[in-house]
Subunit: 253 residues, 2 copies
């Protein structure tokens, strides 16, 4: 069993199918239809919780019940050593191809991707500077990074559905504080601009949350010197075509 | 100097800039704005001819005048041995990565890409079956393939602006007749379905003409046996975001 707004959900569902075992995914009621469809398409059972109103049991509670009832193993979306290590393989593969980077920037929700990339990149490329990027409305990691302990916020209103976390993980925060330079935030408008740039110039479909690092670079939010080499992680392309079409059609989002 | 609806235009403009020489591109008045902008963005001078009304000199005449006046070298979009060989490197790279293909399918306008891929693929992978795909409205290659000599058609009305050729090349037709299995056609609606599929499942932005081979596979136009391995060439992603957005938003195109 896992809980996730969609990308981790699909990853767990696909991994379970490849291994020939069942998977149950706890997903929010306001997840994009494309993510719900894709998760079910990989053969997983989907259990819905109410993120939009906050009524009913939380996703953690629902997942715990399923574990108790069925004996399933919980695969948390970010605050887990194996998940962090797995997400860090992204930075490993990137640095195997392009060994000399001055900066590596990733989207940041609960911090699994960023903390994994921090561990891998620091080991392979000492001196590399690491930054995470959150939506302005959901800056729980930025606040927690500054304070030194996890800060909880209400469910943020942002188009970056994959970054709507309300609290960083304990493990991810500790790793990120130790190894990253900091966290910057981007507006929904800057996310849409990045989604459009990715489609127009990179020919790649990215969802708003997956484009957060690109948005930070494009909008000049990161301290960069001329000639520096920047690795930018695009971390998800699961977006409803109808909404994507609207973002692409309407200049300015 | 070159003439092209846009993709060859950008390739020549970029190559000229890399070599530090000037380029003049003759482009149709109804080319997508994104292709005009991109070609100028690579530093080329753009001369417009009237494709939509057919008034004024043809693109071949305009290009010949520029050659006469300036001494520039003409780089035709398809019916040229070096251009055919260059486009064939695509099949070479594909078969270096994936040596065992039963079928290779490419979009077909003037036939440069298809004939180049025919030469490279047949040399590297004897027995591979090659197919070209045209828009229904612009089946000059299909007709010419059947007749055995180049057939001219009026400028076809199709959303596949990169495949609006009116006559195959002499060289490309001869190579394709010798080495390809045949040509199939797809409707504009099937092209839009393929553009949508590429965005939703492959996370790739493809223009309608560039998605012709994918459209033929998705719509079952090709003779395929179960388990056969098919190489599908996506050959362009230069599309106005506004139009792309409309295709993605409106189910059914």
């Amino acid at each position: 069993v896992a809980f996730s707004s969609g990308n981790h959900a699909q990853a767990v569902a696909l991994a379970a199918r490849e291994l020939g075992i069942g998977a149950t995914i706890v997903m929010p009621d306001d997840a994009p239809q494309s993510k719900l469809d894709a998760t079910r398409g990989y053969g997983a059972r989907v259990v819905i919780y109410s993120r939009s109103t906050g009524a009913g049991p939380s996703r953690e509670e629902l997942a715990r019940r399923i574990v108790d009832e069925t004996g399933a193993i919980l695969v948390p979306p970010f605050d887990d050593p194996a998940v962090i290590a797995g997400q860090g393989t992204l930075a490993m593969e990137l640095l195997e191809e392009i060994p000399e980077l001055d900066l590596l920037v990733t989207p940041c929700g609960g911090g699994g991707l960023l903390s994994g990339c921090c561990l891998a990149a620091t080991a392979m490329c000492p001196g590399i500077r690491l930054w995470g990027v959150e939506p302005e409305a959901g800056d729980d990691m930025r606040q927690s990074f500054a304070l030194g302990e996890p800060v909880s916020i209400p469910v943020p209103k942002t188009i970056a559905d994959s970054l709507q976390t309300t609290r960083p993980g304990n493990r991810t925060l500790a790793i990120i504080r130790a190894l990253a330079q900091g966290i910057v935030t981007v507006s929904d408008e800057e996310l849409v601009t990045a989604v459009r740039f990715a489609a127009e110039r990179l020919k790649v479909v990215v969802e708003p949350g997956g484009a957060a690092a690109l948005a930070a670079v494009l909008s000049g939010k990161l301290p960069l010197a001329a000639g520096e080499r920047v690795g930018v992680v695009l971390s998800g392309g699961n977006v409803d075509l109808k909404r994507l079409g609207e973002w692409l059609s309407n200049r300015g989002g």
